[in-house]
């Protein structure tokens, strides 16, 4: 079976600085893939290029066989790729329910059966149904992250890209989030998590890809990758 997302030879240069040096990466249908790497390894650039924030300098991104290289951010979302940001999580000035409503109104037509047919159902899923009437800006940080996840899910993606989804969360909140994300493949949503937090990645992913200086240096089952001397070298004295 062909991968849901096939990245090949993806490069990005900022001026003379190479942020991505021809990365190949395949995300398989139904998996939770982790993309790790130290700060400055090109993780965020990869995320930004795939989601259309930056145009790549070279290479292609195929989503279900369709070339989506260099599409605008909203077109990427409409193609069926949901994504969450580290910082911009929700519309602070609007109500929680209204946030989810908005997120569900611009998705592509059709698609598979929706596991969360109403905004309320989606709030139930992430455990925020009691807060539907509040303004998003007053939510505590942990709830805001969950709302951000709900917004991305409301677009009914078949692939979800999460950029440091657990940043700033405490242990309890992190495990709640992990519990939710693990359910997603069961609802037909493939997940790709981009983070440097190895503990989180070990909890979530069976497969890891490691970036360093804009290149992929390892890709495989989590335990194998973590035992790879090259990876250990990159992370020596780091988060491991």
């Amino acid at each position: 079976m062909s991968p849901i997302l096939a990245i090949s030879g993806l490069g990005k240069q900022f001026g003379g600085v190479t942020a991505l040096a021809g990365v190949d990466l395949a995300v398989e249908e139904g998996e939770i893939l982790g993309v790790v790497g130290p700060n400055g390894s090109g993780k965020t650039t990869l995320f930004n290029v795939v989601t259309g924030v930056h145009k790549p300098s070279g290479g292609t991104v195929l989503f279900r066989g369709r070339d989506i290289t260099g599409l605008a951010p909203h077109a990427i979302s409409r193609a069926g790729i949901g994504y969450t940001f580290q910082q911009a999580m929700a519309f602070a000035g609007l109500g929680v329910l209204e946030n989810v409503q908005i997120a569900g109104e611009h998705r592509r037509a059709g698609g598979a059966a929706n596991p969360w047919p109403t905004p309320q159902a989606l709030l139930d899923f992430v455990g925020l149904s009691a807060l539907g009437g509040e303004k998003a800006g007053v939510l505590p940080f942990g709830s805001l992250r969950l709302l951000g996840l709900a917004l991305a899910l409301a677009t009914r993606p078949s692939l979800l890209l999460l950029d440091e989804p657990a940043a700033g969360l405490n242990d309890r909140e992190t495990s709640a989030l992990v519990g939710l994300v693990r359910q997603l493949p069961g609802h037909g949503i493939t997940v790709c998590v981009i983070d440097h937090d190895m503990k989180l990645m070990q909890m979530l992913c069976r497969r890891l890809a490691v970036l360093d200086f804009g290149s992929k240096i390892a890709d495989g089952p989590t335990e194998k990758v973590l035992a790879d001397p090259k990876v250990l070298d990159v992370y020596l004295g780091g988060d491991l």
Binding site: H74, F85, G93, Q101, I102, K135, T155
Partner: protein, 334 residues
């Protein structure tokens, strides 16, 4: 239940407009009617501005220029093609919408802080073009527009009848603006106001919708322009340059751009304040300016938003988090 809530938010405006429509029963002076008619034409334009600024978070300093396009379209149509009021109305609305698109596409491409300056420049440019347009635009003197306004065979040019017609148009503008606020389109615009990056990530074509909001505001402005042209009987470039645009922005912000009552309150207040306080035009302008500064510094939701909040505090004893669902006090941030 939700529709019920939404309808309830329209009710106060409808009640106020019904009261305003009943004013001719008390045989008001011609001066009052004239003031009210010009306030009314402003309010129609302000409803357009509130969609743009209040909902989408885009501040335009060229709104009077869009009104001007409508007014000049009506005058030129009447002069060159013998086209009357009712035909001019949709044509002028379209002309303003197209002009808004022509201004909007490059201005919004430039984006951000520069947008407001771009709209200001386009406004000034229009005034310069109209002034240098020779006989076609009547140069600095402007154009006359004669011709009666009739409705079902009745002559509407009579002051009281024109007043009632303007009130009807204001009501239509308020209802249209209310419908936008409570539609998924309105939610889309608010999403853009709150966070463009997040909005795009949810599949919203931010650029297209921003231009769309600008075009919608142009339709309101164009209709306002036609009503203004037929009321005044004479229009000139200086009415539509950037300073009138500043006054329109001032009115909508004093009233409160995000609330359905805001444009109505702002337009009426600015028109009648000098009468009530017995100020000459110079003094009243100073008062407007001070009001605007005070409102921005002290009441971020505008006067009406401030009153609503004060009432909430008075009745419930504590300030509620949200004064009104659509009147988010937090401002669009990048």
């Amino acid at each position: 239940m939700k529709t019920g809530n939404a309808l309830r938010s329209l009710l106060p405006v409808l009640v106020i407009l019904a009261l305003i429509a009943a004013v001719p029963l008390f045989s008001p002076s011609n001066r009052f009617l004239s003031l009210a008619i010009s306030a009314g034409t402003n309010v129609i334009a302000l409803y357009g501005l509130s969609v743009l600024f209040g909902q989408t978070g885009i501040l335009s300093m060229g709104h009077a220029a869009l009104v001007g396009v409508g007014a000049y379209a009506a005058a030129i149509l009447a002069r060159d093609f013998g086209v009357g009021f009712w035909t001019a109305l949709p044509v002028a609305a379209l002309a303003s919408a197209v002009f808004a698109m022509i201004v909007g596409i490059p201005s919004l491409r430039v984006g951000g802080h520069h947008f407001v300056i771009m709209t200001f420049a386009f406004g000034q440019l229009l005034a310069i073009v109209l002034t240098n347009g020779g006989d076609y635009t009547g140069a600095a003197t402007g154009l006359d527009i004669a011709g009666p306004v009739t409705l079902f065979g009745a002559d509407m040019s009579d002051l009281t009848r024109y007043y009632l017609m303007v009130v009807a148009f204001v009501t239509a503008a308020a209802v249209a603006s209310w419908a936008i606020i409570h539609s998924s389109y309105g939610r889309t615009l608010r999403a853009i106001r709150e966070n463009e990056k997040l909005a795009a990530s949810l599949g919203i074509n931010v650029g297209r919708h921003k231009i769309g909001a600008f075009v919608v505001s142009g339709v309101f402005a164009g209709i306002s322009g036609v009503l203004l042209a037929y009321f005044l009987g004479h229009i000139s470039p200086s009415q539509f340059s950037s300073f009138p645009s500043i006054y329109l922005a001032l009115m909508v912000m004093i009233g409160g751009a995000r609330l359905i009552e805001g444009p109505l309150a702002g337009g009426i207040l600015v028109a009648f304040l000098p009468e009530v306080l017995n100020l000459d035009p110079v003094q009243s302008r100073i008062v407007y300016g001070v009001c605007l500064i005070a409102v921005i510094m002290l009441l971020p939701d505008g006067l009406i938003g401030g009153i609503v909040r004060a009432l909430r505090v008075a009745f419930s004893g504590k300030p509620k988090q949200e004064a009104e669902r659509d009147a988010a006090p937090s401002e669009a941030r990048q």
